[in-house]
Symmetry: C2
Subunit: 211 residues, 2 copies
């Protein structure tokens, strides 16, 4: 993505950075929307720069210049998704908050559109290092947003002091994503509920105490 570390010849450093105003932003929005549509529709393997350009109503040269390849599109989409993340819940109990979290994850993965997008993103990350980094960042952000929920639970004495917040959150998400991406089993509400109960039981046993 980033290049031209020392731009001696006044080379344009990655299009869109010097003049991010009106048109450029509009183009990005249109392209990313088209990308999401395409992923939801036909999946990552069928992601095609030409089609994206056409449905976005944008010159295909622009798409190639700014994103370079299908993985480039997905990577940028991921950055975009990381920016617009929603805040965590606050039900008053850790169990309740975690349940909300798990249900949110489940709803996302189960949703036809979002499920397809996440599938595509995971596939793209498996193919490309840049994309993998973007995906890692995305989840670092997401986990960071929910960490306070665990801290509050700890303050209320619902789990032992010293519990690693993100570790507990990972334990909640893991069974859902595992089924979604790896074993391809259905992610039911039951699964989500059990993930919360199991993670909480382990947390109370002090399994997630920071080393």
């Amino acid at each position: 993505m980033e290049q031209e570390t020392h731009l001696t010849e006044s080379q344009p450093a990655s299009p869109g950075t010097l003049r991010p105003g009106g048109r450029t932003a509009k183009v990005r929005r249109a392209v990313l929307d088209a990308t999401q549509d395409a992923l939801a529709d036909t999946g990552f393997h069928a992601l095609n720069m030409d089609r994206i350009a056409a449905t976005a109503g944008v010159g295909k040269t622009t798409v190639y210049r700014r994103w370079g390849s299908p993985v480039g599109l997905v990577t940028d989409l991921l950055h975009d998704m990381a920016e617009q993340s929603l805040p965590a819940s606050d039900t008053g109990s850790l169990a309740g908050d975690l349940r909300t979290n798990a249900e949110l994850v489940r709803a996302t993965l189960t949703d036809a559109r979002m499920g397809a997008v996440f599938r595509a993103v995971i596939a793209a990350a498996a193919c490309d290092e840049d994309c993998a980094r973007a995906l890692a960042d995305f989840y670092r952000t997401r986990l960071g947003e929910w960490a306070p929920v665990v801290a509050k639970g700890e303050a209320r004495g619902e789990i032992p002091a010293g519990t690693d917040p993100t570790e507990l959150l990972r334990a909640v998400s893991a069974p859902l994503y595992y089924r979604f991406a790896v074993t391809r089993e259905e992610v039911t509400a039951d699964v989500a509920e059990r993930a919360v109960t199991a993670a909480l039981a382990a947390a109370r046993d002090g399994v997630f105490i920071r080393a």
Copy 2:
């Protein structure tokens, strides 16, 4: 993969089934080996039928005819991997067996060659339904092989009666695969150990009792 349900015109039903003898088998072996090499080397996105044919020392027409596409290759590789699965361990304690299992998974995912293969397989499954089914079958098989370990633990009274064996096993694997495929964090021995402890704590609490 399978087609020609009613072969009225004596169409050859998927090449390799009527004459699976010497040459055909040799070709399959060579192609699957080449596929694994390629995946370990350059990953799924760069998987190229022509190159596979060349390195396998096989006509490229053959590769296209029998496997059709990169996902087809990965799907068959997966079937091949499912066939040659190794038996579960028996250390005498459930904790020990689960630890062995987790360590085995970790070693596989961490191994440069096998890690790349699994990454590719997950990516391919995200792109193609046939491949997804093959992947699901693979894990169904694997989980089935380890289920007795849990049953024995239950018999020894290490976990409550009625515990769902595969559910417990999934809980052990999930955190490892979640990091490997989704958040792309490093899968350390520490992570594996914690996965076992957490799963076991939940199991003892009766979280995985069959509904």
